[in-house]
């Protein structure tokens, strides 16, 4: 039996050094693979539309369209992609708001890398779990 195919992830953050760091961090254990990067929300939507990844790691504070505005567009562009918000704003301030508009998870920047990886894996697993309401 071969290992399951890694989950595909798109990174959307305006700071290139942070994207590089997250690429190394997320791919560290082999079960996540970065398939695209975007430096602003609009290109994030394009990359997700093209790649239809399992997940997107999305910054909120970006020049131009911000992450909050991008969430509904991402949902529409690729309904199967889970949205993990990754932001420097305190979760208590922003998490509920992002979930209202369709985000799946909220991780504060500065969290340990394994927590970020777990958030991505958890969000994808939840999405594929049978809907208890169905």
């Amino acid at each position: 039996m071969s290992a399951p195919a890694p989950l595909t992830v798109v990174l959307c953050d305006d700071v290139p050094e942070l994207r590089t760091l997250m690429r190394f961090g997320l791919e560290e254990e082999g079960d996540l693979r970065i398939v695209g990067e975007a430096g602003d929300a609009a290109s994030g939507v394009s990359v997700v539309t093209a790649q239809q990844p399992d997940a997107i790691l999305l910054d909120l504070s970006m020049p131009g369209m911000d992450g909050l505005q991008a969430i509904p567009l991402l949902r529409a562009a690729s309904p199967a992609t889970v949205i993990v918000v990754f932001s420097g704003f305190a979760a208590e301030r922003m998490a509920a708001l992002t979930q209202q508009v369709g985000a799946d998870r909220y991780v504060e920047k500065g969290a340990e890398m394994n927590l970020v990886r777990d958030a991505v894996r958890g969000a994808v697993a939840d999405r594929h779990a049978p809907d208890p309401a169905a």
Partner: protein, 388 residues
């Protein structure tokens, strides 16, 4: 020849009785406020020294002139209408009430804020008006200055909070990247670098941690005094317990004993006061003496309409010359050298938080060498603290 004993008789001083009316007039004329009377037509009939000083006209010049002489043109119609109303209806709107604020007109044409108290009466069947007018220019100037200062304070507080918010978000961003790459270096190159390199990475990680704490403390400081504290009932004993729990690791490491006395429930901003307890307690444990077991006592007492909370220890104490400075931003006391992780903001934050509750904080020296930090929480208007 006159006899000496006759010389010692005190001379008789004749007492001339002063007519009550003359006495009253003398007093009235010496009052610093302008005291002015007018007849039923509004013509000025008395003009005192105070009137002269305030309005610039002498009595000779204004006696017989209409009261409108001292009323700015734009207020004259209203003034005349008022006089007419009082004359015909005896209206009590202004008369006999506390001072009303209006604008006076000086001889040189300048206008000034004034307070007017008005009385009216009948003398020999004819109505007269008596007005006491106080020049409140100076008070208004002070009020205006105070308002300006308050506005400025609000503005600078809001600005500080805004600054701290942006600073903490934007300063943390690159810091997290530094921290992230250091972590990556550590994990990916573990065993490939020598011990010295690992040590260097350790130093860099520590420094990043200190910087992050400094930024967090600055943000807390800015939030602590951004306005009057929000108030809801909080059990100070519970808050102190929470602070103790948060510091449990350092309390255990110091083998410190915390003696928690009875603390009241007060109307206050809970999270802010928990931070105060946490900072004071943290300092008490941090600045302990090495030769005696560390004991910290937390207690409360009623003092002049306020609760006074005391956090006292048997530690290294505070030098006399530092008792004020330690509450300043970055005003670190002796012994702060052993506290490399300290931001120098902790006590400044306590001061700001306590002052946001209308209280004050100070430090006393304890006879055996420790320090006793005391802060007051005055009862909010409308009663004592919630429970003794």
């Amino acid at each position: 020849m006159r006899r000496p004993d006759q010389d010692q008789t005190p001379p008789i001083v004749p007492v001339v009785p002063i007519e009550p009316e003359a006495l009253l007039l003398a007093v009235v004329h010496s009052i610093a406020d302008a005291v002015i009377t007018a007849d039923e037509h509004g013509a000025i009939t008395m003009w005192t020294g105070g009137s002269e000083a305030i309005f610039g006209w002498t009595a000779d010049e204004v006696l017989g002139l209409p009261l409108t002489t001292i009323v700015p043109p734009e207020h004259r119609d209203a003034h005349l209408a008022g006089v007419a109303r009082v004359r015909s209806e005896g209206e009590q709107h202004v008369i006999g009430r506390g001072p009303v604020t209006l604008t006076g007109l000086r001889r040189d044409g300048t206008e000034f804020p004034a307070e007017l108290t008005l009385a009216t009466g009948l003398h020999a069947g004819r109505r007269f008006f008596a007005a006491v007018i106080r020049d409140v220019t100076a008070r208004h100037a002070v009020d205006a200055e105070l308002q300006m200062a308050l506005k400025e304070l609000e503005r600078s507080n809001a600005e500080l909070q805004q600054f701290a918010s942006v600073a903490s978000h934007d300063l943390n961003e690159p810091l997290r990247i530094v921290d992230g790459y250091l972590g990556l270096l550590r994990r990916r190159y573990a065993g490939q670098l020598d011990e010295t390199a690992d040590e260097f990475i350790g130093y860099a990680v520590d420094a990043v941690g200190r910087m992050q704490r400094l930024i967090d403390d600055l943000l807390r400081y800015a939030r602590a005094g951004a306005g009057p504290a929000a108030r809801s009932p909080v059990d100070l004993g519970g808050l102190a317990d929470e602070a103790i729990a948060r510091l449990s690791a350092s309390i255990e490491a110091a083998e410190a004993t915390i003696e928690l006395g009875d603390l009241p429930t007060v109307a206050a901003d809970g999270p802010l006061l928990r931070q105060v307890f946490q900072n004071l307690l943290g300092n008490a444990v941090k600045f302990r003496r090495d030769d005696v077991p560390c004991i910290v006592r937390i207690s409360a007492a009623r003092v002049d309409g306020a609760w006074e909370i005391s956090v006292s220890d048997n530690g290294i104490g505070v030098d006399d010359d530092a008792t004020l400075r330690i509450f300043d931003m970055f005003g670190r006391g002796r012994g702060a050298g052993r506290d490399r992780a300290g931001s120098g903001i902790g006590l400044a934050l306590c001061k700001r938080a306590v002052e946001a509750h209308g209280g004050a904080i100070r430090v006393l020296r304890v006879t055996d060498g420790g320090s006793d930090f005391r802060f007051t929480l005055p009862d909010p208007p409308g009663g004592e603290g919630i429970r003794a």
